[in-house]
């Protein structure tokens, strides 16, 4: 009976109050996300200048009302470049996450649905992939296929896939052994119908949240590859590449690295905050 009371208590308070209100972090993350999406779709709206426009006379300017984030060694406006770089960073992050999720979905479903032999094989394969740090796996892929934005994207996707596969496999196994799947069997439902109606929707619901959380990570990784010169190449306005370009002048012109870095961090944090918010809401829906 205490169980019921506790359940009722839990059910009551968190559902009525906090989850239906937006937290401060969620609001800030949402606003920043809105800015990023605007900058990605219509960069000219938030920063009318030319991200590649050179103005040697105003090189290395500190942040000022004229140049919010300062200028780089060729006098390009850092704010303009950061804004115009949003699109490619978001695109890389989203695409990489989708590739990771897609691959993970295939591997996880194989392992979770097709019986012990396939499960064993897929698991051993995943363990081999897990043995390499994710970034190393990405580097390996780039080594084979050569640097570039497209390869970096696929590489990051590949590197994140094993983690997603594991989670999806676990979800499928968990849901398949749950009491409501058994109840559906007792009602005389066929395995295929149970799979479509009960197992997949319940097992895959968390993927949306995972994906949102993953975009932040993917952007950081893609930027890391660009920083290493394996993704977008200078003078392209990409955050990781800008970070790398500023490295030389870090002692004299800190803003060249600071602001692209800040955007990488803020994007990752916002994606995570939004992902957590969605997760919390879905759990109580």
């Amino acid at each position: 009976m205490s169980d019921l009371e506790i359940q009722a208590g839990l059910g009551r308070s968190p559902r009525t109050s906090p989850s239906h209100r937006f937290g401060v972090a969620e609001v800030l993350a949402g606003l920043f996300g809105l800015f990023l999406i605007t900058a990605a779709l219509f960069p000219a709206l938030v920063a009318p200048g030319d991200p590649l426009g050179i103005d040697p006379l105003s090189a290395f300017q500190t942040p000022s009302p004229a140049h919010w984030f300062g200028t780089d060694e060729s006098g390009r406006d850092i704010y303009t470049r950061v804004s115009h770089g949003t699109g490619s960073s978001l695109l890389i992050g989203t695409l990489a996450t989708m590739i990771g999720l897609g691959l993970g979905l295939v591997l996880g479903t194989l392992a979770g649905m097709l019986g012990p032999v396939v499960d064993f094989t897929v698991n051993r394969f995943l363990e081999v992939l897990f043995a390499f740090p994710g970034l190393l796996l990405a580097l390996l892929f780039i080594l084979i296929f050569g640097p570039g934005v497209a390869t970096a994207t696929v590489a990051v996707g590949l590197a994140t896939a094993p983690g997603y596969a594991r989670i999806i496999r676990g979800q499928l196994i968990l849901v398949r052994s749950s009491a409501f799947v058994e109840a559906a069997t007792v009602l005389g439902r066929s395995p295929g119908r149970i799979l479509v109606r009960h197992v997949l929707p319940n097992a895959l619901a968390p993927l949306f949240v995972l994906g949102t959380l993953g975009i932040g990570q993917a952007i950081v990784w893609a930027s890391a590859l660009s920083y290493l010169g394996l993704g977008a190449a200078p003078p392209a306005a990409e955050w990781g590449a800008m970070l790398a370009a500023g490295r030389t002048y870090i002692g004299s012109a800190w803003w060249m690295s600071f602001f692209p870095g800040l955007f990488i961090v803020l994007t990752a944090v916002s994606a995570t905050a939004l992902g957590r918010g969605i997760e919390r809401r879905m759990r109580h829906a």
Partner: protein, 591 residues
């Protein structure tokens, strides 16, 4: 209660006059606990209705007061308020709140910590989660000694051993080195009581201490509490079950909606209850109540199960089965079922050992046994959710367990199942309406081209099902998570009835429900059985429930059926010693 001015001034008028001054308290001895006009609420102070409103009681040393009430009546909040654990957002107010004669209102958290364990001990329902799984229980018990006394390690060891021996743990020296997971449920509960009494607190609060335990173990724990009581400990026993508290309580306080509606000597409350709530609770106890007797007198008008959920089908017959009346009278038969499980260490365990039973049409077969006796495995075998290692299950005279699932599916509509944990048997994404629609739709796919007429017919049948189990239509859009335990079980029964089954397999369907809610669900099952001619396989650990619902009963022990026969015969003259032991342990009112 909802009047805000009333909240501000919880006057003496809000206390029901019933037996406020307890009789048995000897003058001069400080009571273990004295509470006068306790008001507890959550959220903004004076903003919402208080959860407890003017509760007064006291417990003398060597006395047991039982606080009895349904879920949500405020029992646990009462217990926690006495420990300073009501919660961060709770406010507690009282004219008097004293433990062992000293006032405990407005104590700081540090001051509370010094009192917990010393002035008051707590025993809760679930010992498994209350003990640290990674530490030996002896160490857990020694903790309170370390915090509250200056004993050295050797002296603490002796005291822990003493405490464990007092609670009757066999081989205490060995037991104190075990972790909670290595002890059985009863042993864990004893260890928890040992931890609570290690410092000899004058007051022991036991919050549903036996609810999760088997009857025989429950009887032992209650005996232990009675022994402690005789040794001078004041006991505050909290329970939803009047029959359980009747065994040891000296006085009983009945709590309802945060108020004590009746308080008095135990035998007076049990035999001459004055308040309707108390009467309902007593009437709900199923022990010794013959079959068919309603347990819930409040709902006097019988719920008339309309058969409209079977619309399109002639009442009393299910689709594609016109010759069922000529079929044999045995609807479900288990023949020599055996099921083995492999333990983690590789050894084999016989969960079910040559179990045979027959369920006759329109009757109820009760299977009773304690945890681990193989009841649930038997139910799963009967539902063909797991494959027997030997033997077979036949449904309506046809092979059921021996055929592939594909063939079995044709027979599945004849079998409905109701589970103990109704909530987890529902897809968490679906609303009540979707759950029931899925069930009435049968195996048929009703997507796309099958028109709105089928959908409308389904909706009618869903409404008919709801009516049959006595649920309002307003619940259709809700998720099962937001329903009460009783409502969830009703939805679960409605789903089981959707296919028009002849057999209902109920695995502990009322075990997680309050006694009063249990009574309503049992009444519902009884009505449905009579009106629909259902045959019930009813599995429970509760002999009282089994006695009330069953025509035939089978007693299980260690995977075997040790005794079977007509319920009246088995309960009147049990032959097997185990049945006799079980029956002796059943808590009942009156002696």
């Amino acid at each position: 209660m909802s009047d805000e001015t009333d909240v501000g001034v919880p006057g003496a008028a809000s206390v029901t006059g019933a037996g406020e001054g307890p009789g048995g308290v000897a003058a001069g001895v400080a009571p273990a606990v004295r509470v006068r006009n306790l008001v507890v609420g959550f959220g903004p102070k004076d903003g919402a209705d208080p959860v407890l409103n003017g509760v007064s009681f006291e417990v003398a040393p060597g006395e047991c007061l039982a606080i009895v009430g349904e879920s949500g009546s405020g029992k646990s909040v009462t217990a926690r308020s006495l420990l300073g654990l009501a919660g961060d957002n709770a406010w507690v107010r009282a004219d008097e709140l004293s433990l062992a004669g000293s006032d405990v209102q407005n104590l700081s958290e540090a001051q509370w910590r010094r009192r917990r364990g010393r002035d008051v001990g707590l025993v809760v329902q679930d010992a498994l989660v209350s003990l640290d799984p990674l530490r030996p229980v002896g160490r857990e018990i020694a903790d309170s000694l370390r915090l509250h006394t200056r004993l050295d390690a050797a002296a603490r060891h002796t005291r822990v051993l003493e405490a464990l021996e007092r609670v009757g743990l066999p081989d205490a020296g060995n037991a104190m080195r075990k972790r909670s997971g290595e002890l059985s449920g009863g042993q864990r509960q004893r260890a928890l009581i040992a931890a609570a009494i290690a410092l000899d607190p004058p007051l022991l609060i036991a919050d549903e201490p036996t609810t999760a335990l088997d009857v025989t173990v429950q009887a032992q724990i209650l005996d232990l509490l009675a022994t402690l009581k005789r040794a001078g400990t004041g006991i505050l026993l909290i329970s939803h079950d009047l029959a359980v508290v009747g065994r040891i309580a000296d006085r009983i306080a009945v709590l309802c909606d945060g108020r004590i509606v009746e308080q008095g000597p135990a035998d007076e409350v049990l035999t001459r209850p004055r308040h309707p709530v108390t009467r309902t609770m007593i009437a709900a106890i199923p022990v010794d109540k013959p079959r068919g007797l309603r347990l819930n007198p409040r709902a006097a008008e019988p719920v008339l199960p309309s058969l409209s959920y079977q619309s399109g089908v002639a009442p009393g017959s299910s689709p594609d089965d016109c010759d069922r009346d000529t079929s044999p009278t045995t609807v479900l038969e288990a023949i020599g079922l055996v099921k083995r499980f492999t333990r983690p260490d590789g050894s084999e365990q016989l969960a079910v050992d040559s179990v045979s039973f027959r369920l006759e049409r329109g009757t109820t077969l009760g299977i009773v046994g304690e945890s681990g006796s193989g009841k649930t495995t038997s139910a799963r075998l009967a539902l063909a959710l797991t494959r027997p290692d030997a033997g077979e299950v036949r449904v309506l005279g046809q092979a059921f367990s021996a055929v592939p699932e594909k063939e079995r599916r044709a027979l599945r509509p004849h079998l409905g199942a109701v589970y103990q944990d109704a909530l987890s048997s529902f897809d968490p994404r679906l609303s009540v309406e979707q759950v029931l629609r899925d069930a009435v739709a049968g195996g048929a796919r009703r997507t796309g081209r099958v028109g709105a007429s089928a959908g409308a017919a389904d909706r009618l049948r869903v409404l008919g099902l709801l009516e049959a189990v006595g649920l309002p239509q307003g619940l259709l859009g809700r998720r099962p998570l937001s329903l009460s335990g009783g409502q969830r079980q009703r939805v679960s029964i409605a789903r089981a009835l959707a296919s028009g089954p002849q057999i209902l397999i109920c695995d502990e369907p009322v075990s997680s429900l309050d006694v009063t809610v249990q009574a309503q669900v049992l009444d519902l099952l009884d009505e449905l059985q009579r009106n629909l001619g259902l045959s019930l396989l009813f599995i429970s650990h509760d002999l009282g429930v089994i006695q009330h619902v069953s025509d035939q009963v089978a007693v299980m022990l260690d995977g075997r059926i040790v005794e079977t026969g007509a319920t009246a015969r088995v309960f009147a003259a049990p032959e097997h010693p185990y049945t006799q032991a079980l029956l002796g342990a059943v808590p009942r009112i009156g002696f």
